[in-house]
Amino acid sequence: MTIAIQPDRGVVTPPVTRRLPQRNPVALGYEPAAGAPMIAIRGLTKRYGNVAAVQDLSFDVPAGSVVGFLGRNGAGKSTTLNMLAGLSAPTSGTATIAGVPYRSLPRPMRVAGFGLNAEAFHPSISGQRALRALASRIGVGRGRVRQVLRLVELESAADRPVGKYSLGMRQRLLLAAALLGDPQAIVLDEPTNGLDPQGHRWLRDFLRARAGEGRAVLLSSHVLADVAATVDRIVVISRGRLVADQPISTIRQTASVRVRTPDAGKFAALLSGGAANVQRGEADVLTVTGLDAKPIGELAAAHQIVLHELTPTGGSLQDLFFELTESEGAGLR
């Protein structure tokens, strides 16, 4: 995997493209192009008068992967997702799903499921009825409605009006609606808003499982810990422009551990004998890359070296995110 830093596009690495899993073309109404990225954004631009909300944005979401779509409030994430969903028209560029704009897909919700707005349900209608109306629109049966309600663990509240749902429950309903057509691509905008800690973990596992089935998942979120634990790749935008598109593993590789020990010289020699790269700063401080804190601590214990500090630093998604978007000003939730 090569990583290129382009002045105008930030950190960009090519995505891994997997072959789309086999699905009945009759059910989809079209035949997916083998080897094509499930979601492809190419030179996407959206202008409102003189204001460019999204500028020349390009990235892919391959089948079988989870891509985190990050950016501060107003960076252009929702505008991008709306264009992908065909809810707003791009000024220029294309946003396609399996090689086709969403609006041109014969049975769109069977190809791509969007969870964009947890408030987009009539408050006086029950969750089940809202899903049934959507199911009849896309031509799926009531059995599938019950199935997705069970999948998102919302069966017990299915007959309650959506207006009486908590935000977390509405998020689950939104996910159920997105999954109604059993789509190959899942696009979610801030799906963890309002979820409790168990809900966060459940969603992480759920999305990883969907990617494991060969589906493409595009996840926009402000909760960087969730993103870091879920995604294979991150796409970061700032002021509508792409500033990073790279595998999450490359961020983990840049992690370092700060070690403070009175035996800095001896310990540096021990560490350098292995896979670690050691830099010596202050007299008793080492900055170690290539090894996690745990093996460093174990190595110190094995050689009876006293440690005064063992702190993982840098290399986090949060650090990268702030570094890439710091020029955008304050306002991160």
């Binding site: 709306n82 065909g86 919700m109 964009l116 629109r137």
Partner: protein, 237 residues
Amino acid sequence: MTNALKAELRSMRHSRAVMLAALIPAVIAALVVLVDHQTKLTGLLQAETVVLSLGMLIAGSVAGGSEYQHRTIEWTLLGTPRRGTAGTAKLVAALLLGAGAAALTLAATWALGTVVDPGLHVDVPVATLIAGQLAHGALSAAFGLACGLALRNLPAAVGTVLVIALVLPIVFQVKQSLGRVIEFLPYGELSAAALALGSSPASAGSQLPTLAAGMVLLAWTAIIATIALTRLTRTDA
């Protein structure tokens, strides 16, 4: 298109506001029959026509405007991304809703009127009366829905249809110098009533024949529907 139409009808059926606005005309028409003793069916239907116009305009505008109020338009367009199809399905569903409500209201008025006065005289051809009533209800609901889709704002849509149905006719009646212009307004006791009753209501002094009155209402509905569909297809959701 079939799935989109089914979904629209299901959404309307599940909306309490839409169903109330669609059913209230039948209830009010029945109450009017009990207190207003008329010997002719068209006499009974004059009040029913006004209530049906208002009910269908409000039902349609609520169905169209609430899509944007509650942002359910996003699901509509995700499920039916071809916007022409989505908009047409909505208009057809409104036409069916309006025709159904008109049939119910006419049946309630006629049946109860016959019970109250077994000698009730049907003073226009039955086929013309039924066709006019159904067309009036259908076009009124579609007119309201188109207003809701065009304005994308529920209170504004309901306010607009009320102004068109109630305020404009009064303004034009007061302004006598405008002469026959008033006959070409969609509502009031004019085109809609002439269409619904199968004859021009004597109280309004309209000279338009039934078919011409129907064409006036159809033309107004087509204009508003074209604006609504253009906005739906050419602008962001």
